[in-house]
């Protein structure tokens, strides 16, 4: 087969990678270019749309100083972090319980937790508004922090079930034979081994929160407490006129920093691989 030579690596790794990168990043290139185009260039398609002739930082400047974008970014981050932590705590424990322990009702509960997923947010938001009203949480970030786990927990629980299932039994069995309690086995063996899975689940949870739109739209009313997707669309889309330069600037600012952050995490859980081991 193809060996480890440079040509081999090129075919096996670099070329597919390049293709993937181009397809993945092209829209972002487009967004970046658009966010730097001055107003007159935005709708001028008589020339190539791929370059900026007259770059301007006006959109970024306007976005950061004249809208509440920094505040929205902060809100989105707070909500995402806290709801992720809450959900991870619940799901790690629940995932372990459902994946590893045998007891009556485990199947039904696991099934039940997941079945709630089948009622989509586009239907749930109506009764949830009632719940939020009863708890007086309108316009409060806690409304989001407490409702996001409703779709994060089932998701993460199932992910973690999958990861816990992938850890060989023998390791925990050995510990149990040595006299450790179930909890000790869980804390000292299963969870550390499942860290890549937990990190992955954290990334997903964070992303789902970051991306969430409907609940944030319904429960948040004042500009200062809105999240990025809601605030941006409301202030940069006026009737039938879109402010593309700023929209694209917001899209980039709302994703690139997060991606950079993620890459460090991915680094961490892939770093476990020793060099020289076969990688498929």
């Amino acid at each position: 087969m193809i060996g480890d030579s440079l040509a081999g690596r090129a075919i096996r790794i670099y070329i597919p990678l390049l293709l993937l990168l181009v397809v993945t990043l092209f829209p972002f290139y487009w967004m970046a270019v658009t966010s730097f185009k001055s107003a007159s260039e935005l709708f001028d398609f008589s020339v190539s749309p791929l370059w900026v002739r007259d770059p301007t930082l006006a959109w970024y400047q306007h976005l950061l100083t004249q809208t509440n974008f920094p505040r929205w970014a902060l809100n989105t981050a707070i909500v995402a972090i806290v709801s992720t932590l809450i959900s991870l705590f619940c799901s790690v424990l629940a995932g372990y319980s459902l994946a590893r322990l045998r007891y009556r009702g485990a199947d039904s509960i696991g099934w039940g937790i997941f079945v709630t997923y089948l009622v989509p947010p586009t239907l749930l938001f109506l009764p949830l508004t009632f719940v939020i009203r009863e708890l007086h949480l309108f316009n409060n970030l806690w409304a989001l922090i407490l409702t996001y786990p409703t779709f994060l927990i089932p998701f993460c629980t199932w992910m973690l079930m999958g990861f816990f299932k992938g850890i060989p039994h023998e390791l925990e069995e050995a510990a149990l034979v040595d006299g450790a309690t179930r909890i000790q086995a869980m804390l000292r063996i299963a969870i550390p081994l499942a860290v890549p899975g937990i990190l992955a689940a954290a990334l997903f949870a964070f992303t789902l929160s970051w991306n969430e739109f409907l609940y944030a739209l319904i429960f948040m009313n004042d500009s200062l407490v809105k999240t990025i997707p809601v605030g941006v669309t409301q202030e940069l889309i006026h009737g039938d006129e879109f402010f593309w330069g700023e929209l694209m600037a917001a899209a980039l600012l709302g994703s690139v920093p997060v991606a950079v952050l993620y890459s460090f995490f991915v680094d961490y859980f892939v770093a476990g691989m020793t060099a020289g081991a076969v990688k498929g």
């Binding site: 107003a39 007159s40 709708f43 001028d44 398609f45 008589s46 938001f125 109506l126 009764p127 508004t129 009632f130 939020i132 009203r133 309108f138 409907l214 739209l217 319904i218 009313n221 004042d222 500009s223 809601v230 669309t233 409301q234 202030e235 889309i237 006026h238 009737g239 039938d240 006129e241 879109f242």
Partner: protein
């Protein structure tokens, strides 16, 4: 709220009750009568003026205006009133797509903004959540004259005003005079058949007249409903029950559209509301139907085609000239703890002085929904805006000639009329007319025959 209901009842007199009941009965049978006769309750000595409560807090939810400065002015006026009366006012502006679920959630949870801007037939959808504003609308009528019939049709449910008329966003044709001249078209077409001819001539310039026939919240309705009506077609009969789309008139309308498309009128099933704006600003099309936003943005921001842009009213069909404009009204919601304060604020904002300040800043995008606003100087200030004034009178609503209702609202949100045209206009205007009409009939029957 008991307090609000009591206030409303104290405005009733037996005479007024009988008058209104009589009008209500007449309205249900003959909507045109109501419209042509005007309101029966023009001066009521017993109308009470709502007083704001100091320390109250009012929240208003509405659509982000295309004209950002108009929203700023609106918020300024509300804040000014709030300061003068010791009331905290918060105004939230969202996109049209977002206003819908927020309103739905508020109605369902029985809690939310004190005032919500009603789009289209929402007062008919959310009747039980909207406070009876008859008293206040009567005050406005006595000061400002007759309300616009379309606003009235939307706001009045079973003879009771469930919302206060707020504004009309007129839709007219913005077009490029330079391309028209180049193509040999001296003036914008005044009939649909003339439009076909003009479209053919403009095709040769490479900049066609274009419009959406897709799922655009505003532009699909403002175009295809008037076309249907112009040829005598209708979705349902005036009784609001019998589906009447399957008719020769409907087919005539579709045939006209097919002819226009074959001649060079370009329709885009993928266009949403912003797309024709963008195409115009990018010098891709020579004419399109829209609110004043295209012209205003050229005039105020882009300065590319201001001098070569003009606006024209709706062309006429064999059965008359029809238009459809975007209509917004304000409803006070029954869960509000300060209904009277909310009503007082709305009355202030609709006061002639305040309102005209707002329409002036809106630069022609908005027209007032009462007689007193009919000769708004903002339209006279720029002669090119005249068309937007002209389209107000022939304006109707989706579902006309039936009165607005839950059912017409459903038909409208499912884009049944636009889809019918879109199907027939597919493949260069050679779609199957019978299939299109039949599909529209099925969908309409599903709505109107549902219990």
């Amino acid at each position: 709220m008991p307090k609000a209901r009591k206030k409303a009842k104290s405005g009733w007199s037996r005479r007024k009750f009988l008058q209104t009941a009589g009008v209500a009965v007449a309205t249900m049978a003959f909507p045109e009568i109501l419209i042509s006769c005007g309101p029966q309750t023009s001066t009521t000595p017993t109308a009470t003026i709502p007083k704001p409560r100091k320390g109250a807090s009012i929240r208003l939810l509405q659509w982000t205006s295309f004209v950002a400065r108009a929203d700023t002015e609106f918020k300024r006026q509300a804040a000014e009133w709030g300061d003068a009366n010791g009331v905290t006012v918060a105004i939230e502006t969202v996109t049209g797509d977002q206003l819908q679920p927020k309103t739905a959630a508020a109605v369902e949870a029985n809690s939310g903004p004190d005032i919500i801007q009603m789009q289209y037939a929402w007062p008919h959808l959310y009747t039980n959540s909207c406070v009876d504003l008859t008293n206040d609308v009567n005050i406005l009528i006595s000061k400002l004259g007759k309300p616009d019939p379309v606003n009235e049709a939307y706001c009045k449910v079973d003879g009771v005003w469930r919302a206060m008329p707020y504004t009309i966003v007129p839709n007219a044709w913005s077009y490029r005079t330079d391309y028209f001249t180049q193509a040999g078209v001296s003036a914008f077409p005044t009939t649909w058949d003339e439009l076909t001819t003009a479209a053919g001539k403009l095709k040769s310039t490479g900049k066609p007249i274009s419009q959406t026939d897709g799922h655009a919240y505003g532009d699909s309705l403002t175009m295809w409903n008037p076309v249907l009506w112009g040829f005598g077609g209708k979705e349902v009969n005036a009784d609001g029950k019998t589906v009447a789309i399957n008719s020769q008139e409907t087919r005539n309308a579709i045939k006209w559209a097919q002819g226009a498309v074959k001649a060079g009128f370009v329709v885009h099933p993928e266009w949403l509301d912003p797309d024709n704006n963008q195409a115009y600003h990018a010098d891709r099309i020579s004419g399109t139907l829209n609110g004043a936003s295209i012209y205003i943005r050229e005039k105020v921001e882009f300065h590319h085609y201001t001098d070569v842009t003009n606006n024209a009213p709706m062309p006429a069909g064999p059965k008359g000239t029809f238009a459809m404009n975007l209509i917004f009204n304000h409803a006070v919601m029954k869960w509000s703890p300060d209904v009277e304060t909310a009503r007082a604020m709305l009355l202030y904002l609709m006061d002639k002085t305040q309102y005209m300040k707002w329409t002036t800043i809106a630069a022609g995008y908005n027209a007032g929904p009462f007689d007193a606003f009919h000769n708004d100087p903002v339209f006279a200030a720029d002669p090119k805006l005249k068309a937007f004034q002209d389209v107000v009178a022939p304006g109707k609503w989706p579902g006309w000639p039936a009165l607005p209702s839950k059912k017409t609202a459903q038909s409208q949100t499912q884009f049944i009329v636009a889809d019918m045209f879109a199907k027939a206009l597919a493949n260069g205007g050679t779609g199957d007319i019978e299939a299109a009409v039949s599909a529209a009939e099925t969908s309409l029957k599903a709505i109107f025959e549902r219990p």
